[in-house]
């Protein structure tokens, strides 16, 4: 067998690199499986400890932001609000530091994949990061600190809006965040800021042509009316509510927030195809759920000249291409709604004020063009490099050619991974119920409901309520 002088070394090199890369499974996908399993036990403190133990494997050095966000959120779900504040604050600080982009990382991502870049968080995730930090402070009755988080999120949103420019499809505002900040400002007695926030919430929903929840619309009307802003009421097309809130002397308000269900995640959609010259053509497609569709077709033969002279042949070599893109992966949620029963105040149903599915879908849609461009550049560069390597290793033996080509293709495939990193521990929805209760210790019975109205999780908690004050209380059913 007359082999190419470099083929032996190249084969050994390719085999070695393949072995090295064999362990490079997509961390984003591994993380989803591991963390979901841990979180489903509802033992959030144990889940947080698990993440700390497996940090290097599940996150690596480029997803530190995500690690802080995940651990912080798990502590929040476990009502360890102080610990949650520590981790979520670290996430906020790190996100600020990640403003500077490394030229080396950006260049590497064009050759390897986007996972080599540090995770900076999606815009809506950063807003919700501040929102959950505010929730932690509210749970600890530190409303002043919650306001600071609201202000930081406002500054971030201003920057997002500036970058979005006139792009109508872009994420420019967050009605959920705005509505909650209205509640915070109102709790602090800053009704003017509350009115501005609720105006922004309703306006954002109107601009997206999304329905305004009736309770939010009624709240907006009351705030704007109290602040003497009839023009805003007209602009937002708000109607006076049929009932007036009963805030009698000696009562306080309980704002019950339910964190319900599971956010959708990101899966990897990939396509790969191989043309074995003088053999077959195989192509496969894998969707976000992992379902693979493959097909093989006989490939046209090479011209006779490809077999003659020069000591090598193209027969057996391959032309291989693969690309992977993130796509929305549905995660079923059993918790769809909530109801609250407070002794002496009756039963109130929750109203959904936020949905992470819509936010993620919008985020993917907004970033698709940029992502596609990056993927095309990366795949083209890698395919050309692989073709060059295969041509250098070409021998006169079609079987050796095939083995060398498949090794090179496998190596290139290992590098092509979609960046599926995201904060999938967020709840699918935030639900709100406002109850006027007599001052003192309120016994709050909370239940998360499934599709059929049946309770899937319930909890009872005693909460102190002061006359004339608002107290926020948080429950969750992350399933």
């Amino acid at each position: 067998m007359a082999s190419h002088p470099r083929s032996g070394a190249a084969l050994a090199g390719a085999a070695f690199l393949s072995l090295l890369l064999a362990g490079c499974a997509n961390r984003g996908l591994t993380r989803f499986d591991s963390i979901s399993k841990q979180a489903s036990t509802q033992d959030y403190a144990a889940a947080a400890r698990f993440l700390a133990k497996e940090r290097a494997t599940l996150y690596g050095s480029q997803s530190t932001l995500l690690y802080y966000m995940d651990v912080g959120l798990l502590y929040h779900y476990g009502a360890a609000y102080d610990s949650s504040i520590v981790y979520l604050t670290r996430a906020v600080n790190l996100q600020d530091e990640l403003y500077a982009r490394s030229v080396t990382n950006e260049a590497a991502s064009l050759l390897v994949n986007d996972n080599v870049r540090p995770y900076r968080g999606r815009s809506y995730e950063i807003v919700w990061l501040h929102l959950f930090l505010a929730f932690d402070y509210l749970a600890l009755d530190r409303t002043d600190d919650a306001r600071i988080e609201m202000r930081q999120a406002e500054i971030f949103l201003n920057e997002v809006k500036r970058k979005a420019g006139s792009d109508g499809k872009a994420y420019r505002d967050d009605p959920t965040f705005r509505a909650f900040s209205a509640l915070v400002y109102e709790a602090l007695g800053e009704r003017d800021d509350a009115a501005i926030a609720i105006y922004a919430a309703v306006k954002s929903l109107r601009q997206r042509k999304q329905p305004v929840p009736p309770g939010m619309a009624a709240y907006a009307w009351r705030l704007l009316d109290a602040e003497d802003r009839p023009d805003d009421i007209r602009e937002l097309d708000l109607q006076p509510p049929s009932t007036k809130p009963a805030r009698t002397p000696g009562t306080g308000e309980l704002v019950v927030v339910g964190e319900l269900g599971r956010s959708p995640a990101l899966g990897e959609t990939s396509f790969w195809g191989t043309w074995v010259r003088d053999g077959v053509m195989v192509y496969s497609y894998k969707d976000a759920s992992g379902k693979v569709v493959s097909q093989a077709l006989p490939a046209p033969g090479l011209p006779a000249s490809a077999y003659q002279g020069r000591g090598s042949t193209r027969s057996g070599t391959t032309l291989h291409i693969k690309w992977a893109m993130p796509s929305l992966r549905e995660v079923p949620s059993r918790s769809q709604g909530m109801q609250v029963n407070v002794e002496g105040a009756g039963t109130v149903a929750g109203e959904t004020w936020g949905d992470t599915r819509a936010l993620l879908a919008q985020d993917l849609d907004e970033g698709r063009t940029a992502l596609l461009t990056r993927t095309v550049i990366r795949v083209a560069a890698r395919t050309l490099a692989a073709e060059k390597a295969k041509s250098e290793m070409q021998t006169s033996n079609p079987i050796v050619n095939l083995l060398l080509s498949l090794g090179t293709d496998a190596l290139a495939d290992q590098l092509e991974q979609a960046d599926v990193r995201m904060w999938f521990l967020l709840p699918r929805a935030l639900s709100v119920a406002r109850v006027s209760v007599p001052a003192g210790a309120a016994s709050v019975q909370w239940g998360a409901q499934g599709d059929d109205g049946r309770i899937v999780r319930s909890e009872t908690r005693e909460t102190p309520v002061k006359a004339g004050k608002t107290r926020f209380v948080f429950f969750n059913s992350i399933k």
């Binding site: 403003y99 500077a100 982009r101 490394s102 030229v103 080396t104 002043d144 600190d145 306001r147 600071i148 202000r151 930081q152 500054i155 201003n158 920057e159 500036r162």
Partner: protein
């Protein structure tokens, strides 16, 4: 040839190790340091000192002086309405220090501190000897209270931002609710970040 490459390797390793160490340098607590651009100890100290200087050089103080009276002051709450988590206690302690060190006013303990002192007196009532026991109901009541707020406005575009802090303080007569002095101090910071690194 081998020797040269070995020396180069050792040199390179040495250079890498130099960057791995942590260096701590002690600096004066009065020095001005700005790392992140956020509100820091220097802002807190400078604002407290400047505002107290302005406060104690105002007309109300000369009225007290003319009556040969030393005002008794207490620092009330300083509300943080800014966009940053500012430790208000550091600021109020700076105010207390500036007030006490001025020697121009008498200064009484804050609400929390007074509660601690009362607990101690209650304990002494049971456990201390009659000669050394401190009596309840002998506290000096403050005539004036300093209250205030910290506000901020942030203007940001890309890697550049301007943060404007305004600190408002008021000296209020506790009995009448009259405001004897209103002062403010403004701080403007320009912060620019690197957009690109290697």
């Amino acid at each position: 040839m081998i020797r040269v490459s070995r020396v180069a390797g050792i040199l390179m390793m040495s250079l890498m190790m130099v960057g791995c160490g942590k260096k701590v340098t002690r600096i004066s607590s009065d020095s001005t340091t700005d790392l992140s651009g956020r509100w820091n100890d220097t802002d807190s100290r400078l604002v407290a000192e400047e505002m107290l200087r302005d406060c104690l050089n105002s007309a109300w103080y000369y009225t007290y002086q003319a009556q040969k009276k030393t005002p008794t002051v207490i620092v009330g709450s300083v509300k943080n309405k800014s966009h940053e988590h500012i430790d208000a206690e550091t600021f109020t302690k700076d105010m207390e220090r500036a007030l006490t060190n001025s020697g121009k006013v008498e200064f009484v303990a804050s609400k929390g501190e007074r509660e601690e002192l009362r607990d101690e007196k209650a304990d002494q009532a049971t456990n201390a000897s009659v000669e050394t026991r401190k009596q309840a109901g002998e506290e000096s009541g403050a005539e004036l209270m300093l209250i205030g707020s910290i506000n901020s406005i942030v203007d940001k575009e890309g890697s550049k931002s301007v943060v404007f802090y305004q600190i408002n303080m008021e000296l209020v007569q506790i009995e009448s609710g009259r405001k004897l002095w209103i002062g403010d101090k403004k701080i403007k910071k320009y912060i620019s970040k690197n957009a690109v690194t290697f």
